[in-house]
Amino acid sequence: MALLLARRLLQAALILLGVAAITFVLLYALPADPAVLLAGRNATPQTVANIRHQLGLDLPLPVQFWNYIVHLLQGDLGRSFNQKTAVAPLILARLPATLTLMAAGIAIEVMIGLTLGVIAAVRRDGAIDRLVMTLSFVGVSTPQFLVALLLLYVFAATLGWFPMSGYGTPAHLVLPAVTLGILGAGWYARIVRSAMIDVLGQDYVRTAHAKGVPAARVVLRHALPNALLPVIAMIGIDIGQFMSGAVVVEAVFGWPGIGQLAWQAIQQVDIPIIMGVTLVSALAIVLGNLLADLIAPFIDPRIRAG
């Protein structure tokens, strides 16, 4: 176990280094010159050159990358070009909002997805199954902004049950989390359904039924735990996704998460922020998957043995 963990952590470090290198090269290969953008329109070439020098943009690319990595190892993500302030606090300040939304979104996804998936599997090929599968199809293919705006308009603007925008109280969390939840639930419903169908067809389930165990107990105690593995893996992926990918929902509900920060930074070619957010997201994806892999053996002892 410890060996596995050590190996995975080493892998994670290498992946992060790779992500850093690729992002760095891509960003610096852009034709846009951050110094020109910063210097503004009245700048003399002298001012632009000064700014480029101050930012270290006049150094050779490998040297710039080396400097970045050296600072990174000391926990320093650099200073934003545009905001002229350290990047790490900007990301840290937005981390609680991102994590809260992520946790709530995943919780809703899993709750809805598990329930619907199990029902669909049990009532396989019936009317309920078809309804659930259609709904999940609609869910995964509906654009986030549509659902977000719809919920906002109905439950906030018209009914006034929830605040329209902002952050801070549980009430603020409901609509953004529900948006993420009902859209993501479709994936979970599908995964759980197919895993359950697989498990329900196995011999030990038939045996349980034959012994006279109540049907509900067979489904929930015997079958469901064995169908959870793909769900755990999916949650691992979602952690990474929501870390960087809730941009639309954050924008509509004014949720101060990392996605907003990334989106603004991209528009302003604020390379240190883009780098920082990319690394944090990559870290989340790596950790999310690692977590899923570590939890899996507890759910399914066969993995531990193998």
Partner: protein
């Protein structure tokens, strides 16, 4: 706007001679009558980047920085008229090379210390200092010692002297008729050295000034709270007690909240999708503020790329564009333009008619130039709505005269990079990057975007247009710093821009008006919500009783 224009020229002439105190009084007297009090909420989509006056240079932080700090000179709210602010009075030497300012007595920074001449010197040197990485350094180029300081050969600006406890003297290396405007822009804001040093590189998040408001709280990514500065040196200003800026607010949602009364000013304006609905609603009159800004949207014709090196081709394309149709694409929130200067700018020529829309004439001119069958070219545009739609309309107009333009819609930074690279972009639609004046003076619409100095790698003169004769006349006009010659100078600038149009390096398209949405309880004329020098004028807006 013509009235404003006349008034501003007249006032500019009067300004140096009129007693400063009387002017300030005149500027603040009507303000005294406004209601006092009120806490308002303003929303923006994007973060406030920085509140450091030496660095901040976008339309969002521009107006906030204006209110957090004070400068030697400022403007009467809602107008382009200069008035002394932190300065009590000033004199200009006859050769236009020495400006002497007497500071107002007893003005305090919000940390309690009195503002002294050394603060003025420190602040401007800080804006110019290469270490600050500020975008405003170039504005101070006329101050003696600028070149040595920006090249790192000197430790300060030798041209700023502080002979006693109330006087600041500026020595210029060349006459600069815009110098009083330069002292009114944000980069000339006066900051206390000890607070800058205490902030250790984070002054942009911990600003200390002597303006109308003080930053009370900043929750990163969420909101900024500004409270009225009770010690501000003009009594009765500002009117509101506080304003809170909520960020990360989608314009559409901000508007819904505004209609419910949760928001007082939707800073990003009204999204095109909502504009018709709002403008037709019964409340429209109270909710929509529509004001002129010093903006011109244009298409650059790169004079270094064939066939735009031919003036006839450039003139022909000027006649090919149906500007009224383009105005309709932006819901009528613009006025067709025929010259580089916007109508609200001193020097705008009301008599000039420009190139009228005339497809037949455009075709004839193209034939004369040897392009009877047209030609193929590329039109660059930024990729956020409505800019690509405007570029498409321009493309259709060009097709009607036989010019096949391929549209390249890119991120703003990439378009800017292409424009500043020689021989790269034949045509650029300036939408989303268009010129908005830094200060209300015609010279600001020439140097960087039409002058020879801007036609360089990384520059903003995307037509790569350089007319030596006009350049000399521009320099001559900006040397007329005697305030008595102000009218003559504006006249000289007017002729420069008309002559620019003879060379047709641009197709001036329209002057966009700025639309701000405000709640019913907010009072004040449109020109303080779309103030020509600061967008929202937080000092002047007020809450109705």
């Amino acid at each position: 706007m013509l009235k404003t224009l006349l008034r501003s020229t007249a006032l500019a002439a009067a300004i140096a001679f009129a007693p400063a105190a009387a002017l300030t009084l005149a500027a603040t007297a009507p303000a005294m009558a406004q209601a006092q009090g009120g806490d308002i909420v303003v929303t923006y989509k994007d973060d406030i980047a920085t509140l450091d006056p030496a660095i901040g240079y976008d339309w969002q932080n521009w107006s906030i920085i204006k209110s957090l700090f004070s400068r030697l000179m400022d403007y009467t709210p809602g107008t382009p008229d200069l008035v002394p602010s932190l300065a009590e009075s000033f004199t200009v030497s006859p050769d236009g090379l020495t400006y002497t300012f007497k500071l107002r007595k007893g003005v305090k920074f919000s940390n309690g210390r009195e503002v002294v001449p050394a603060d003025v010197k420190y602040s401007i040197e800080r804006a110019v200092d290469p270490k600050t990485q500020g975008p405003g350094a170039g504005f101070f180029g006329a101050i003696a010692g600028f070149d040595d300081f920006s090249a790192g050969k000197a430790t300060g600006l030798s041209g700023i002297e502080t002979p006693d406890t109330e006087t600041v003297v500026f020595k210029l290396s060349r006459p600069d008729a815009t110098f009083l405007h330069v002292l009114a822009i944000n980069f000339a804001s006066v900051v206390p050295k000890e607070a800058v040093e205490a902030a250790a590189g984070d002054f942009g998040k911990k600003p200390v000034g002597s303006g109308t408001f003080v930053l009370k709280d900043w929750v990163i990514g969420q909101k900024l709270v500004f409270a009225r500065n009770p010690d501000y040196f003009v009594k009765g200003v500002p009117h509101i007690d506080s304003f809170t800026i909520e960020i990360g607010q989608e314009p559409l949602v901000a508007l819904l909240r505004l209609q419910k009364g949760e928001v007082d000013i939707a800073g990003d304006g009204i999204p095109p999708a909502k504009f018709l609905e709002i403008s037709k609603s019964p409340d429209a009159k109270d909710l929509i503020v529509d004001g002129q800004q010093l903006h011109t949207g244009y298409v650059t014709l790169n004079t270094k790329i064939k066939p735009f090196d031919n003036v006839k081709v450039r003139q022909a394309l000027n006649m090919a564009i149906n500007k009224d149709r383009l105005v309709r694409i932006v819901n009528g929130r613009a006025t067709p333009a025929n010259q580089p200067l916007p109508p609200a700018m001193p020097g705008y020529d009301t008599a000039y008619k420009g190139y009228a829309y005339d497809v037949a004439k455009a075709k004839a001119l193209l034939k004369e130039a040897g392009y009877a069958d047209g030609f193929s070219t590329v039109l660059y545009s930024t990729n956020t709505d409505p800019q690509p739609r405007i570029a498409q309309a321009i493309q259709q107009d060009l097709a009607a005269v036989g010019v096949k333009a391929e549209i390249k819609a890119l991120a703003q930074s990439n378009v800017i990079a292409a424009g500043g690279t020689e021989g790269e972009a034949p045509m650029i639609w300036s939408g989303g990057m268009a010129w908005i004046a830094d200060f209300p003076d015609p010279s600001n619409f020439y140097g960087p975007i039409l002058g020879c100095a801007g036609a360089v790698q990384g520059g903003w003169n995307w037509s790569w247009y350089c007319n030596e004769d006009l350049q000399k006349r521009a320099v001559a006009a900006d040397s007329m710093s005697d305030p008595a010659k102000s009218a003559e100078r504006i006249e000289a600038w007017k002729k420069v821009f008309v002559d620019v149009m003879a060379d047709a390096p641009w197709i001036p398209v329209f002057n966009e008006r700025r639309v701000v949405a405000k709640s019913k309880r907010m009072g004040g004329e449109p020109n303080i919500y779309v103030d020509p020098t600061r967008v929202i004028n937080y000092d002047a807006i007020f809450v109705k009783n």
